[in-house]
Point group: none
Amino acid sequence: MTIASPHGRTQPRLDDGSPVRVLVVDAESSLADLLSLALRYEGWEVRAAVGGAEALRRAREFRPDAVVLDMALPDMDALTLLGLLRQERPGVPVLFLTGRDTAEDRVAGLTAGGDDHVAKPFGLEDAVARLRGLLRRSRAAAPRAESVLTVGDLVLDEDSREVSRGGTEIHLTATEFELLRFLMRNPRRVLSKPQILDRVWSYDFGGRANVVELYISYLRRKIDAGRPPMIHTRRGAGYLIKPPAQAV
Amino acid sequence: MTIASPHGRTQPRLDDGSPVRVLVVDAESSLADLLSLALRYEGWEVRAAVGGAEALRRAREFRPDAVVLDMALPDMDALTLLGLLRQERPGVPVLFLTGRDTAEDRVAGLTAGGDDHVAKPFGLEDAVARLRGLLRRSRAAAPRAESVLTVGDLVLDEDSREVSRGGTEIHLTATEFELLRFLMRNPRRVLSKPQILDRVWSYDFGGRANVVELYISYLRRKIDAGRPPMIHTRRGAGYLIKPPAQAV
DNA sequence: CGGCACTCTGTGAATCGTCTGAGAATCGGA
DNA sequence: TCCGATTCTCAGACGATTCACAGAGTGCCG
């Protein structure tokens, strides 16, 4: 089951109606805070823990439905912690954060089918989407949760990463995809450039806000080309996506 | 009978509709946990036991439909335990886990009766598939259970390990087969390289994600060669398999 | 109607991700 | 033990993607 949250998104719920609980375990508290904030905004209940010892303590009392776990913890081997967490909460899906230099690929370990990985530095939209995907597939979450976003005749499938408008396939690059997903998850709502930058680009992106304009331009070429436009500029405010004209 | 599970896979069920129960008996709890998790993700009900004494206790109260049994237990000879388990639950299929040094002939006798075994270190995809196979063949499970995966005109038989496209037989190596099976069990879903590594390669594989690219390349040569491609790259995200174009 | 701020988009360079050939190491069967 | 099959590493090539920069375009305000 999913219900509408105050701000018009859909809020994740368990079968029994309680909100989904997520435990964020990180090495740096700044990253944990950043993620926690984003997840809380999604309507999830969040606890953050810095280091393994605190994580275990929190897991016991908080009983999370999912865990975000940094592979590089200060006080404990992440895989050890994973084992202990799994003992505490068997079956919880885990989203692993892997450092850029930390043997990027050497992720294989005691992780099983249901888990996922995100490499640092990541974009919040990407990380949050992956966590949504994890919960969607785990039986703890709503069984009928959809992986398809639709606005007008524009369709985006998060699982296959395919986008089409009016039945025509559209190829998008990774960044274009994330941007469009963010827009489509917030239809008819103006999103400011800083907001978009924070959400779609990695937290350590140092570039100018002009990239957003650039990528909006790319998207328009691919999505609106010769059709009633769905991506609109609100001068001085930001961008929004909505179905064209009559189709309300 | 198999019914659709939340995430679009098929979930194993007994004739009476109750989920399949599996008892995992291992020497190390970390391995037991890993396997349990993977099996739970497949939709099975799982209990883990470390050592023979605990295994017997659990078997009595849990009444498993299948058992995963490590040959090297700390407190009891595995064969003794096997006898006791069989007394408790006659006819229950058993998947043996054997260490790399276990004598080949010792296993041969055991698996004669319809049981199976995997050698450590194993890939999860392989181990889980073997357990599925055992249950499929045991009378406890549904008689009509299918062992054939189909995507478009591509057909993979899990029992005979035969693969064909458009009726033409295709020879695959063991690793190629596991990779293709994983893709075909998740059609139209993008699978990331770390996800594939976790699932297809052994848990102690220390290599780089480049092997995935390599084996995708092998598979394409054998499966897509000169035909409408079914294996697709999602740059920066992963790979997915789907039927070509119109054939939905 | 002028001017300013904001937005759009072409160009091009640097970087990144993926593919693939070559060959070493290992496995397994005769 | 030998030989072919298989697995895996390494490195080069190539195309795709990302992004900065700059000039053109556009709307808004006085």
